[in-house]
Amino acid sequence: MENLGYLFAAFTVVWVVLFGYILSLLRRQRQLQRDLDSLKERSSARQGKG
Protein backbone atom coordinates (compact mmCIF):
# COMPACT_ATOMS: atom_id res chain seq x y z
CA MET A 1 0.00 0.00 0.00
CA GLU A 2 3.03 2.25 -0.42
CA ASN A 3 2.26 5.46 -2.35
CA LEU A 4 -1.48 5.14 -1.79
CA GLY A 5 -1.57 8.88 -1.06
CA TYR A 6 -0.37 9.68 -4.60
CA LEU A 7 -3.06 7.45 -6.12
CA PHE A 8 -5.70 9.10 -3.95
CA ALA A 9 -4.39 12.57 -4.87
CA ALA A 10 -4.47 11.81 -8.62
CA PHE A 11 -8.07 10.60 -8.60
CA THR A 12 -9.18 13.42 -6.28
CA VAL A 13 -7.62 16.10 -8.50
CA VAL A 14 -9.28 14.68 -11.62
CA TRP A 15 -12.74 14.53 -10.04
CA VAL A 16 -12.50 17.90 -8.30
CA VAL A 17 -11.37 19.66 -11.52
CA LEU A 18 -14.01 17.91 -13.66
CA PHE A 19 -16.82 18.65 -11.18
CA GLY A 20 -15.61 22.25 -10.93
CA TYR A 21 -15.74 22.57 -14.71
CA ILE A 22 -19.21 21.00 -14.91
CA LEU A 23 -20.44 23.40 -12.18
CA SER A 24 -18.98 26.38 -14.05
CA LEU A 25 -20.82 25.27 -17.23
CA LEU A 26 -24.09 24.95 -15.29
CA ARG A 27 -23.60 28.40 -13.70
CA ARG A 28 -22.95 29.98 -17.10
CA GLN A 29 -26.03 28.20 -18.47
CA ARG A 30 -28.20 29.61 -15.66
CA GLN A 31 -26.82 33.11 -16.23
CA LEU A 32 -27.53 32.89 -19.98
CA GLN A 33 -31.06 31.68 -19.29
CA ARG A 34 -31.63 34.70 -17.01
CA ASP A 35 -30.27 37.05 -19.72
CA LEU A 36 -32.48 35.41 -22.32
CA ASP A 37 -35.58 35.70 -20.12
CA SER A 38 -34.98 39.39 -19.40
CA LEU A 39 -34.41 40.08 -23.12
CA LYS A 40 -37.66 38.32 -24.00
CA GLU A 41 -39.50 40.30 -21.30
CA ARG A 42 -38.10 43.59 -22.60
CA SER A 43 -38.95 42.66 -26.17
CA SER A 44 -42.57 41.73 -25.32
CA ALA A 45 -42.94 44.95 -23.23
CA ARG A 46 -41.73 46.99 -26.23
CA GLN A 47 -44.19 45.21 -28.52
CA GLY A 48 -47.02 45.91 -26.02
CA LYS A 49 -46.22 49.66 -26.10
CA GLY A 50 -45.96 49.69 -29.88
Binding site: N3, L7, V13, Y21, I22, R28
Partner: protein
Protein backbone atom coordinates in the same frame (compact mmCIF):
# COMPACT_ATOMS: atom_id res chain seq x y z
CA UNK B 1 -32.53 13.68 -24.86
CA UNK B 2 -29.42 12.52 -26.76
CA UNK B 3 -27.14 14.33 -24.32
CA UNK B 4 -28.89 12.65 -21.38
CA UNK B 5 -28.32 9.22 -22.93
CA UNK B 6 -24.64 10.10 -23.42
CA UNK B 7 -24.42 11.35 -19.82
CA UNK B 8 -26.01 8.10 -18.54
CA UNK B 9 -23.63 6.02 -20.66
CA UNK B 10 -20.70 8.04 -19.38
CA UNK B 11 -21.79 7.47 -15.76
CA UNK B 12 -22.17 3.70 -16.28
CA UNK B 13 -18.79 3.44 -18.00
CA UNK B 14 -17.20 5.53 -15.25
CA UNK B 15 -18.55 3.18 -12.54
CA UNK B 16 -17.29 0.18 -14.57
CA UNK B 17 -13.88 1.84 -14.99
CA UNK B 18 -13.59 2.54 -11.24
CA UNK B 19 -14.49 -1.10 -10.48
CA UNK B 20 -11.86 -2.34 -12.94
CA UNK B 21 -9.17 0.09 -11.72
CA UNK B 22 -9.61 -0.51 -7.98
CA UNK B 23 -10.90 -4.09 -7.73
CA UNK B 24 -10.41 -6.10 -10.94
CA UNK B 25 -6.98 -5.26 -12.32
CA UNK B 26 -3.97 -6.80 -10.53
CA UNK B 27 -1.33 -4.55 -8.96
CA UNK B 28 1.69 -4.06 -11.20
CA UNK B 29 4.87 -5.60 -9.74
CA UNK B 30 7.46 -2.86 -10.32
CA UNK B 31 5.60 0.33 -9.44
CA UNK B 32 3.01 -1.13 -7.10
CA UNK B 33 -0.34 0.49 -6.43
CA UNK B 34 0.65 3.89 -7.83
CA UNK B 35 0.74 2.35 -11.35
CA UNK B 36 -3.07 2.55 -11.29
CA UNK B 37 -2.68 6.26 -12.10
CA UNK B 38 -1.88 4.93 -15.60
CA UNK B 39 -5.63 4.27 -16.13
CA UNK B 40 -6.30 7.98 -15.53
CA UNK B 41 -3.22 9.38 -17.20
CA UNK B 42 -3.65 7.71 -20.62
CA UNK B 43 -7.34 8.74 -21.08
CA UNK B 44 -6.48 12.34 -20.05
CA UNK B 45 -3.63 12.46 -22.57
CA UNK B 46 -5.76 10.85 -25.30
CA UNK B 47 -8.55 13.38 -24.76
CA UNK B 48 -6.15 16.31 -24.89
CA UNK B 49 -5.06 15.08 -28.34
CA UNK B 50 -8.60 14.31 -29.54
CA UNK B 51 -9.88 17.70 -28.40
CA UNK B 52 -7.12 19.56 -30.24
CA UNK B 53 -7.61 17.41 -33.36
CA UNK B 54 -11.22 18.63 -33.35
CA UNK B 55 -9.96 22.22 -32.89
CA UNK B 56 -7.70 21.70 -35.92
CA UNK B 57 -10.52 20.33 -38.10
CA UNK B 58 -13.01 22.99 -36.89
CA UNK B 59 -10.47 25.77 -37.53
CA UNK B 60 -9.75 24.64 -41.10
CA UNK B 61 -13.47 24.33 -41.87
CA UNK B 62 -14.13 27.77 -40.36
CA UNK B 63 -11.44 29.44 -42.47
CA UNK B 64 -12.68 27.67 -45.62
CA UNK B 65 -16.46 28.00 -45.14
CA UNK B 66 -16.72 30.97 -42.73
CA UNK B 67 -19.64 29.31 -40.96
CA UNK B 68 -19.81 30.17 -37.25
CA UNK B 69 -20.77 26.60 -36.27
CA UNK B 70 -17.20 25.44 -37.05
CA UNK B 71 -15.74 28.21 -34.92
CA UNK B 72 -18.13 27.29 -32.11
CA UNK B 73 -17.03 23.64 -32.37
CA UNK B 74 -13.31 24.56 -32.36
CA UNK B 75 -13.63 27.04 -29.49
CA UNK B 76 -15.68 24.63 -27.35
CA UNK B 77 -13.29 21.75 -27.99
CA UNK B 78 -10.30 23.97 -27.15
CA UNK B 79 -11.77 24.87 -23.77
CA UNK B 80 -12.57 21.25 -22.87
CA UNK B 81 -9.16 20.21 -24.26
CA UNK B 82 -7.40 22.66 -21.96
CA UNK B 83 -9.20 21.11 -18.96
CA UNK B 84 -7.95 17.64 -19.96
CA UNK B 85 -4.43 18.87 -20.77
CA UNK B 86 -4.26 20.60 -17.37
CA UNK B 87 -5.28 17.31 -15.76
CA UNK B 88 -2.68 15.42 -17.83
CA UNK B 89 0.04 17.73 -16.50
CA UNK B 90 -1.14 17.59 -12.87
CA UNK B 91 -1.75 13.82 -12.79
CA UNK B 92 1.55 13.22 -14.62
CA UNK B 93 3.33 15.27 -12.00
CA UNK B 94 1.67 13.34 -9.15
CA UNK B 95 2.76 10.07 -10.81
CA UNK B 96 6.30 11.31 -11.49
CA UNK B 97 7.04 12.06 -7.83
CA UNK B 98 6.94 8.47 -6.46
CA UNK B 99 8.31 6.90 -9.68
CA UNK B 100 11.06 9.36 -10.77
CA UNK B 101 11.55 11.14 -7.44
CA UNK B 102 10.68 14.59 -8.86
CA UNK B 103 7.43 16.47 -9.46
CA UNK B 104 8.65 17.85 -12.79
CA UNK B 105 11.53 17.33 -15.20
CA UNK B 106 12.23 18.97 -18.57
CA UNK B 107 11.82 15.66 -20.34
CA UNK B 108 10.65 15.66 -24.04
CA UNK B 109 7.13 14.27 -23.47
CA UNK B 110 6.44 16.50 -20.47
CA UNK B 111 7.92 19.60 -22.09
CA UNK B 112 6.02 19.14 -25.38
CA UNK B 113 2.78 18.61 -23.41
CA UNK B 114 3.39 21.83 -21.48
CA UNK B 115 4.01 23.63 -24.81
CA UNK B 116 0.71 22.16 -26.09
CA UNK B 117 -1.11 23.58 -23.05
CA UNK B 118 0.47 27.01 -23.58
CA UNK B 119 -0.48 27.03 -27.30
CA UNK B 120 -4.16 26.44 -26.56
CA UNK B 121 -4.20 28.93 -23.68
CA UNK B 122 -2.88 31.38 -26.30
CA UNK B 123 -5.71 30.22 -28.59
CA UNK B 124 -8.27 31.36 -25.99
CA UNK B 125 -6.36 34.58 -25.21
CA UNK B 126 -6.14 35.60 -28.90
CA UNK B 127 -9.90 35.28 -29.09
CA UNK B 128 -10.55 37.44 -26.05
CA UNK B 129 -7.98 40.11 -27.01
CA UNK B 130 -9.17 40.61 -30.61
CA UNK B 131 -10.96 43.82 -31.61
CA UNK B 132 -14.14 42.05 -32.68
CA UNK B 133 -15.58 38.56 -32.61
CA UNK B 134 -14.97 37.59 -36.24
CA UNK B 135 -11.38 38.80 -36.09
CA UNK B 136 -10.87 36.81 -32.88
CA UNK B 137 -12.34 33.71 -34.53
CA UNK B 138 -10.03 34.09 -37.57
CA UNK B 139 -6.89 34.64 -35.49
CA UNK B 140 -7.82 31.78 -33.16
CA UNK B 141 -8.39 29.47 -36.15
CA UNK B 142 -4.85 30.23 -37.37
CA UNK B 143 -3.45 29.44 -33.89
CA UNK B 144 -5.59 26.27 -33.80
CA UNK B 145 -4.10 25.08 -37.10
CA UNK B 146 -0.47 26.03 -36.42
CA UNK B 147 -0.68 24.77 -32.85
CA UNK B 148 -1.60 21.32 -34.10
CA UNK B 149 2.05 20.90 -35.20
CA UNK B 150 2.84 20.14 -31.55
CA UNK B 151 0.52 17.09 -31.49
CA UNK B 152 2.81 14.73 -33.48
CA UNK B 153 5.73 16.04 -31.41
CA UNK B 154 3.91 15.05 -28.19
CA UNK B 155 2.96 11.64 -29.63
CA UNK B 156 6.42 10.84 -31.01
CA UNK B 157 8.41 12.44 -28.15
CA UNK B 158 9.10 9.09 -26.48
CA UNK B 159 10.38 7.46 -29.68
CA UNK B 160 12.28 10.42 -31.20
CA UNK B 161 14.20 11.40 -28.05
CA UNK B 162 15.42 9.38 -25.13
CA UNK B 163 13.71 10.73 -22.07
CA UNK B 164 12.58 9.32 -18.73
CA UNK B 165 9.07 8.71 -20.02
CA UNK B 166 8.47 5.08 -21.09
CA UNK B 167 7.90 4.30 -24.79
CA UNK B 168 4.61 3.34 -26.45
CA UNK B 169 4.04 0.01 -24.64
CA UNK B 170 0.30 -0.07 -25.35
CA UNK B 171 0.64 -0.62 -29.09
CA UNK B 172 3.55 -3.02 -28.74
CA UNK B 173 1.55 -5.62 -26.81
CA UNK B 174 3.23 -4.77 -23.52
CA UNK B 175 0.03 -4.83 -21.49
CA UNK B 176 -1.61 -7.88 -19.88
CA UNK B 177 -5.18 -8.51 -21.17
CA UNK B 178 -6.73 -7.42 -17.84
CA UNK B 179 -4.75 -4.16 -17.92
CA UNK B 180 -5.69 -3.53 -21.54
CA UNK B 181 -9.39 -4.10 -20.78
CA UNK B 182 -9.24 -1.70 -17.82
CA UNK B 183 -7.48 0.91 -19.92
CA UNK B 184 -9.96 0.63 -22.81
CA UNK B 185 -13.00 0.95 -20.49
CA UNK B 186 -11.41 3.94 -18.79
CA UNK B 187 -10.70 5.57 -22.17
CA UNK B 188 -14.31 4.91 -23.28
CA UNK B 189 -15.67 6.40 -20.02
CA UNK B 190 -13.67 9.61 -20.27
CA UNK B 191 -14.26 9.91 -24.03
CA UNK B 192 -18.05 9.84 -23.55
CA UNK B 193 -17.63 12.42 -20.76
CA UNK B 194 -15.62 14.59 -23.17
CA UNK B 195 -18.45 14.48 -25.73
CA UNK B 196 -20.98 15.35 -22.98
CA UNK B 197 -18.90 18.37 -21.95
CA UNK B 198 -18.34 19.37 -25.57
CA UNK B 199 -22.09 19.22 -26.28
CA UNK B 200 -22.83 21.39 -23.22
CA UNK B 201 -20.15 23.91 -24.16
CA UNK B 202 -21.43 24.14 -27.75
CA UNK B 203 -24.95 24.72 -26.37
CA UNK B 204 -23.64 27.60 -24.25
CA UNK B 205 -21.83 29.23 -27.20
CA UNK B 206 -24.98 28.96 -29.33
CA UNK B 207 -27.07 30.53 -26.55
CA UNK B 208 -24.52 33.35 -26.19
CA UNK B 209 -24.72 34.01 -29.95
CA UNK B 210 -28.53 34.05 -29.81
CA UNK B 211 -28.57 36.53 -26.92
CA UNK B 212 -26.07 38.77 -28.70
CA UNK B 213 -28.23 38.70 -31.83
CA UNK B 214 -31.40 39.46 -29.85
CA UNK B 215 -29.83 42.40 -28.01
CA UNK B 216 -28.59 43.87 -31.32
CA UNK B 217 -32.08 43.67 -32.91
Amino acid sequence: MRSNILLGLSFLLMVAALYLVFIYVPTEKEMGIVQRIFYLMVPMGWLALLAFLIVFIGSILYLVKRESRWDILAHSSAEVGIVFTTLTLIVGSIWAKPVWGVWWTWEPRLTSTLVLWLIYVAYLMVRSLAADESQGARFAAVVGIIGFIDIPIVVLATTLWRGMHPGPIIFQGGLAPSMLLTLLVSIAAFTTLYFCLLGRRIGLREAEAEIRKMSQD
